[in-house]
C-alpha cells in the first residue's frame, strides 16, 4: 500500500488543526453558517435529514486492516455503531456531532485517512477497479496511477474551484469494473501496436440529470504524459465549463455542446502548448517509487485448484454456492479474489456495523495480507486469499454473517441512502431494495436468473447508479407520493449504455411486482447462455412494456 510521506502527513495534520479552529470559531459565533458551510463541506461534512453526515475518502477503494479497524472504532465511539460504504468507494457516517468531527478527523489522520475533497467543486476521490493489482486480466496496476492523480489533485490550486465536481475513474484491465465510461474522465489501460502500456482517455461521461456515456478523446496516451493531459482537459473545462447553470456545469455538457471533435482539438491544442512551454513528464524515479508501494505481497508458490478446495466444494453445497458468486480469478496461481457482499437479504445495501468491519479486518489479517478493497458496487473485497484457505475464510464470514452468496446476482442491489437519510432525495431507496431482496431471496431462483445488476437511486442525481443498472429504479415524487421509474438495459462496463425508461412510474406498492414481471419476461424469452442484459438488448423494450402495462 501507499504510505504517507512527510508532505501527505503535514497536509492532513494541518487540515485537522485548521478545521478544529474553524469549528471552534463557528461555535463561538465568530463564523456564521454561511461562512462556515463551505469550510465544513471542504472537509466532507454535510448536514442531512437527521444530523450531520461525514464522508470519508477511501483513496481508490483501498484500505488496510488497521484503517478498517479505525473506521469501526469511529462508528462505535462517535456514531451509532455503523457506517455506509458508497458507490464512490467512500464511507459515510450518518450521525456525527459537529463538536466531535475534529476528533474524528484526527483519528483518521493517525491512520493516513481524511475527508478532504469529498465534497465541493473539485477533483473528488479517484476511483478504481476493486480488483486492481490482482486481476488476472490486468495490463497494469491502476492504483499506481490513481495514487499519482491523488497526489496531483489534492489541494491543487488551479482546480479547487471548478464549475462543478469532477470525478476520475481508472481501470487497468480490458474488463471494466470501475465504470470508467460514466465518469468525467475515465482512464483505461491499453497497449499500443508496439506493445507499450498507456491510457485510453474517455471524457464527458456521467449520470445524474443528463446521463451520458463518455467519448474517447485520446486512443493512446503514453504513461509519462498522464498528468499533463489531465491538466489540459481540466484547463479546457475550467475555462469553458458553464458556471451560470448548475445543471449544465458538468464537463459532459461542455463536451456535448462543443462537439467531441472540437473539444478534443481544444484539449490537444492546450496539451501541445503545455508541452512546448515545459515538456512535463512523470519523472521515472517518482513513478518507480510509487510503483514500489504497490509491490505484490509475499505470495507462496501454490497451485490452482488445490485438492482441499475441490473436496470442500464437493462436500459443502453452501460453500460451493458462495464460492460460485464470491470468488474471482487472481493473477497469481493458487490465489483468489474474494468479494464480500454487503447485501444481506432484507438489509441496507452498503451498511456495515462496527463489529462486521472489525470482523473483515481480522479476516483480512488472517487470510489476505491485511488488505481490503471497497467496490463501487458497495461491497468489500479481500484481494489476496490462498485458494486452499477459502473454506476457512468462508467459515469466518459465516460467523460474522457476511456470507450472503449473492455477489453479482439480483439481490446484490446497489442503492443510495435515499429519503431515509438524504436531503436531496425525492423518494426512499432502501425499502425498495429490501422488498426486492426479500422477493428474490430464494437462492436457486437467484442463481437461475444469473448476473443481473439492479440499481436504485432516490433522486435524479443518481448516486445509486440507476442509469447503468441492467434494471434501474429511480425514485420520483408524484404530488407528494413516492413513485419509481424503471429503466432497462443500462450497463456500466466496457459496453456501457444508459438504460431506457420502460414507461410510467410505479407506486411503491407495485414496484417489486414490476421487477418480478420484468424478470419473468427475461426467463421466458432468454436463449441459451444469455444474461438478462443480453436478452434485453436483443428483444428491446417492447416485450417488457407489453406485459408491464398490459392492464392499463
Amino acid at each position: 500500500m501507499y504510505r504517507y510521506d512527510e508532505f501527505d502527513r503535514t497536509i492532513v495534520n494541518e487540515r485537522v488543526a485548521q478545521f478544529r479552529d474553524q469549528v471552534r470559531r463557528r461555535v463561538a459565533g465568530e463564523l456564521t453558517e454561511d461562512e462556515f458551510k463551505p469550510l465544513r463541506l471542504m472537509n466532507g461534512l454535510y448536514l442531512q435529514l437527521h444530523a450531520y453526515m461525514l464522508r470519508v475518502a477511501i483513496p481508490y477503494g483501498v484500505l488496510s486492516s488497521r484503517q478498517m479497524r479505525r473506521l469501526a472504532r469511529i462508528a462505535r465511539v462517535y456514531d451509532k455503531g455503523y457506517g455506509h460504504f458508497t458507490t464512490r468507494q467512500n464511507i459515510q457516517y450518518n450521525w456525527p456531532r459537529l463538536e466531535e468531527v475534529p476528533d474524528i478527523l484526527e483519528e483518521l489522520a493517525e491512520v493516513e485517512m481524511h475527508a478532504i475533497q469529498t465534497s465541493g467543486n473539485c477533483i473528488r476521490n479517484v476511483t478504481a477497479d476493486q480488483f486492481a493489482g490482482v486481476a488476472a486480466d490486468e495490463i497494469d496496476d491502476p492504483r499506481i496511477y490513481a495514487e499519482i492523480i491523488r497526489q496531483w489533485s489534492t489541494l491543487h490550486p488551479e482546480f479547487s474551484f471548478l464549475p462543478r465536481k469532477f470525478k476520475i475513474a481508472i481501470t487497468g484491465a480490458p474488463n471494466d469494473r470501475a465504470a470508467v465510461k460514466v465518469h468525467d474522465i475515465g482512464l483505461r489501460m491499453v497497449r499500443n501496436d508496439a506493445g507499450e502500456a498507456g491510457f485510453e482517455v474517455i471524457v464527458g461521461g456521467g449520470q445524474g440529470r443528463t446521463p451520458m456515456v463518455g467519448h474517447v478523446v485520446r486512443a493512446f496516451l503514453p504513461v509519462p504524459r498522464l498528468l499533463t493531459y489531465l491538466e489540459a482537459v481540466l484547463r479546457v473545462y475550467n475555462q469553458l465549463g458553464r458556471r451560470d447553470n448548475l445543471y449544465k456545469a458538468r464537463i459532459k455538457v461542455l463536451v456535448h455542446q462543443t462537439g467531441v471533435e472540437a473539444f478534443t482539438r481544444l484539449v490537444e491544442d492546450e496539451f501541445q502548448a503545455m508541452a512546448e512551454e515545459t515538456p512535463q513528464v512523470l519523472p521515472g524515479g517518482e513513478l518507480a517509487r510509487i510503483r514500489a508501494c504497490f509491490r505484490p505481497p509475499a505470495y507462496r508458490t501454490l497451485e490452482d485448484h488445490p485438492a482441499t478446495l475441490t473436496e470442500a466444494l464437493a462436500a459443502d453445497p453452501a460453500f460451493a454456492r458462495w464460492h460460485s458468486t464470491a470468488v474471482s480469478a487472481h493473477k497469481q496461481p493458487g490465489y483468489a479474489i474474494v468479494t464480500i457482499a454487503l447485501k444481506p437479504i432484507g438489509g441496507v445495501p452498503g451498511d456495515a456495523t462496527a463489529a462486521r468491519m472489525d470482523a473483515v479486518a481480522d479476516l483480512a489479517d488472517r487470510f489476505g495480507f491485511g488488505e481490503i478493497r471497497v467496490s463501487h458496487e458497495q461491497n468489500l473485497v479481500l484481494p489476496d486469499v490462498a485458494q486452499e484457505e477459502l473454506f476457512a475464510l468462508w467459515q469466518g464470514l459465516v460467523s460474522a454473517a457476511l456470507d450472503t452468496p449473492n455477489a453479482g446476482l439480483i439481490t446484490d442491489i446497489v442503492a443510495c441512502p435515499g429519503l431515509d437519510y438524504c436531503n436531496l432525495a425525492n423518494a426512499r431507496s432502501i425499502p425498495v431494495a429490501r422488498e426486492i431482496g426479500k422477493r428474490f431471496a430464494a437462492l436457486d431462483r437467484q442463481h437461475d436468473i444469473g448476473e443481473l445488476k439492479l440499481r436504485i437511486s432516490g433522486c435524479i442525481n443518481a448516486c445509486g447508479h440507476h442509469h447503468v443498472g441492467h434494471i434501474g429504479i429511480l425514485g420520483v415524487d408524484k404530488k407528494g407520493v413516492e413513485h419509481y421509474q424503471i429503466t432497462l438495459g443500462g450497463d456500466d462496463t466496457e459496453t456501457a449504455a444508459i438504460g431506457d425508461i420502460v414507461g410510467p412510474a410505479f407506486p411503491a406498492e407495485t414496484v417489486t411486482d414490476a421487477v418480478e414481471t420484468i424478470v419473468g419476461v427475461y426467463l421466458d424469452r432468454r436463449e441459451a447462455g444469455e444474461r438478462f442484459l443480453d436478452t434485453c438488448r436483443r428483444i428491446g423494450l417492447k416485450p417488457f412494456k407489453e406485459v408491464l402495462y398490459a392492464a392499463h
Partner: protein
C-alpha cells in the same frame, strides 16, 4: 398529547431546523424554545409564517440552530403530523432503522 387544532380545516405550519452542535432535528416551541418533540412545537396558521421565521432567525444568531424553514403540518388524533413524507421521516428517523432517530424513544410496539 391531544391536539388543540383537531378538526379545523386550515393550513398549519411549524418551524423546523437542525441544532448547530449535533445537527439534531428540532422544532420551534412557544417562548422561542426549541424542542425535539414535534408535539411540543408551536403550531400556527400559514399567514404567520414570516413572523415566525423572523423569530427563528434569532436562534440562528444565537447559534442554537441552523437553516430554519417552515413545514406544513396536519392535525391528527395523536398530535400534529408533517404533511410531506420527507418531514415525516425527519420527525421519526430512518424508516429502515426504527432503532434510530426519535422513533427509537417509542416502545417497539408503538413504532
Amino acid at each position: 398529547m391531544p391536539c388543540r387544532l383537531e378538526g379545523r380545516a386550515m393550513a398549519f405550519k411549524v418551524v423546523t431546523a437542525n441544532r448547530l452542535l449535533d445537527g439534531a432535528v428540532v422544532w420551534m416551541a412557544p417562548e422561542e424554545r426549541w424542542t425535539e418533540c414535534l408535539d411540543a412545537a408551536l403550531v400556527f396558521e400559514s399567514d404567520d409564517g414570516a413572523a415566525m421565521l423572523a423569530m427563528a432567525g434569532r436562534a440562528v444568531t444565537d447559534r442554537l440552530v441552523v437553516s430554519p424553514y417552515l413545514i406544513d403540518v396536519a392535525p391528527g388524533a395523536a398530535g400534529v403530523r408533517p404533511v410531506h413524507i420527507k418531514e415525516v421521516i425527519r420527525a421519526a428517523g430512518p424508516t429502515v432503522r426504527p432503532d434510530l432517530g426519535y422513533q427509537a424513544r417509542l416502545s417497539p410496539v408503538a413504532r
